[in-house]
Amino acid sequence: MPQNDLKIGVFVCECGTNIAGSVDVDTLVEEAKKMDSVVYTAKNRYMCSEPGQQEIKKAIEEQKLDRVVIAACSPRMHEPTFRECVSAVGLNPYLVDMANIREQCSWVHMEDREKATKKAKDIIKAYIARARYLEPQEEKEIPVTRATLVIGGGIAGMQASLDLADAGYQVFLVEKEPALGGIMAQLAKTYPTMDCAI
């Protein structure tokens, strides 16, 4: 079920002229305001810049925002940036979401401002709708046993074992045959050095 008593903040990035050049950012902000649970909206020339991030942090703290939608570039570009940004003021990093209005909108519909703006509006609204269902997620950590199993005692297995053993880790090297060496031990000489294989 969507949570109704949410406080969603929407931040629209102009990305210089990258977004503002082909999409009407003010319309986007106005449209976002009309959406349920949206209690705060803002635009910034560069949302990912230090002042842009400060604005987000300040709004989260002052407005007690519990969901954040950032309409900017691709999440593949800046999702880590904004996850870190909101975590810094105590919001779970999975409660921020990015609406991609640059790579998938302003940059690819540069000749039709009206339709590009309509599409950007749709994208923002869809991500605000989605934000109502976002839940905090936990990144669990588990311990790692400091030992390695190496299967195969040919040249590759031996080299990997030696590197790890030299670094101080316990290595278990399992070889099916009675001796190490694998195929390489059968070669008379090896190229390019033309030296002995054993």
């Binding site: 593949r76 570009m77 790579e103 998938q104 940059w107 690819v108 519909h109 339709k115 599409k119 749709d122 709708a129 989605r130 269902y133 997620q137 990144e139 669990k140 950590e141 588990i142 311990p143 790692v144 046993t145 400091r146 030992a147 390695t148 199993l149 190496v150 299967i151 195969g152 005692g153 040919g154 040249i155 590759a156 297995g157 080299q159 990997a160 074992s161 590197d163 790890l164 053993a165 670094a167 101080g168 316990q170 290595v171 278990f172 070889e175 099916k176 009675p178 001796a179 190490l180 694998g182 195929i183 390489m184 031990a185 059968q186 070669l187 008379a188 090896t190 390019p192 294989a197 054993i198």
Partner: protein
Amino acid sequence: MMDVGRHPNIKLLTCSQVESISGYVGNFHVRVHKKARYVVESECTACNDCVEVCPVIIPDEYQQGLSSRKAIYIPFPQAVPSAYLIDMNNCLGTNPIACGKCAEKCDKKCIDYDMKDEIIEFDVGTVIVATGMDVFDPTPLDEYGYGTYENVITSMEFERLLSAGGPSDGHFIRPTDRRKPKTVGFIQCVGSRCEQRGQPYCSNICCMNTIKDTLLLKDHYPDIEAKVFYIDMRAFGKGFEDLFKRSKEAGVQYIRGIPGEIIEDSKTRNLKILVEDTTANKMEEHEFEMMVLSVGVTPRLDMPEVQKLLTLSKTPDGFFMEAHPKLKPVDAPTSGVFFAGCAEAPKDVKDSVTQASAAAARAETLLAAGKVKLEAITSELNADLCRFCTICAQACPYKAITVDPKKKTISYIEALCKGCGTCGAECRFSAIKMKHFTDEQIVSQIDTYLEEDSYDKVIIFACNWCSYAGADTCGGARLQYPPSSRLIRTMCSGRVDEKFVLHAFRKGAPMVVVSGCHYVDCHYIDANRWTQKRVEKLWDKLERLGIRPERLLLEWISAAEGRRFAQTMQDIEELRKKVTKEEIEHTIKILTEEEEKERQKQEKLKK
């Protein structure tokens, strides 16, 4: 080898096979079956007394069967561990009355016929798979007469014949009359680059191996005439071209053309071939006293055993599949598992060593940190809704879902889940919740997109790694396409549930596109096969319901294919224009009725 044998941090288990590996990254539990050697490894001094008295004589595998060994033996003089072992399949002595000569002779009393196999168990955090390769056996290629004509040998046998520690003490002799041959021919690509006979791929090492072999031959015996028959000579590595030049300067002839067959002269035991020299465009006849088949490399026959242990996958060439062919070439798709050497693809010594060091470094990244962060976006089972159809366990590419048929329970190993969401899309009872990409989240996006003017919008499901990234690439290149597209990101196309597609049509979408990675690029091993299977089923379902299947498209678009993304969007816009408002309204009516029927069915089931 010596360094490995004496390193205090390496526990060397020879004659051993991994029996099972359980657990997950950072926490694997390993069971190893160590076969008995029947000689106490730590006591044996390799004095050779036992070998002298052993009455059994069998072919020596290390020497490619070109000489013999005893039933108690050491594989080769420099072997590590430097200890003898008894080949129990050939030993007469399990019953001391029958033989027992070696045990009598051994001063240190380290021979123990009653030695038992052992099971050794331990825990590790990472696993390196360095299982190597097999050498192609040319026996089935009867045109070359290997196995029939004794003077036709493989490149592996050639190595032994030319080795100082070989069966002829390094003297190069031909098998039939044990004298030095005057002429030797080499045939390249035996078992490689051939779809029908052998392997379709290039085995990578054979060209350079033959160049090396001809140089060795010319170094020892400048008077032997050597000719190499090839398709292409591939000398692409550092210092390789120099060796190729040296070989040609030493008088080795390289002839572009592969002989169709080898014919033996029954009197001289010489070998005749007919070959088309494709550089000179003429047929040539050649006669050799000996011929070497430059054999390729094949995946190991016992690969399926290792594959099963660690739920690995294979690429079409039969070698192990990497997590990503470019960006994660030493990582297996299973976390905490890495590849070194020929297990992943044919390689020479230098490349094997390079990859081994890379694998060690990748493993060390986890070992040094001492902890590993798990994927937060994973799936979750609601046991109350589960009807135990087990489709989720079949669909999981990582075997993170296990089924207990007796208790009728399904359990999750969270550490193995990578969050593709295929299980959630396959579950027909909504019993699986895919975190961060839940049904509600995705449906809310569809609803919002189609709230107004649905008829001029195309819904596109795009996977994070390829098609969504491809759309980003398209944007980066400013390639323009019609603004009708509305993208919905999922981690994998495997997440796209049948109900999302039907929901989009019910809400008035004229076109729906499901897009993901090409088969080779799938970031979740093979999850996108399930996507395709589902779309194929949906085409049938739509047709059955009277909805044109052409309105649902499946498109594989890689992260680099920005142009392909733009082209696809343009084509789809043309198709969208052909979908009339009447058709959309008709679809909405059909699917709304269908939804109602389904709802009533569910209610009946509940009662």
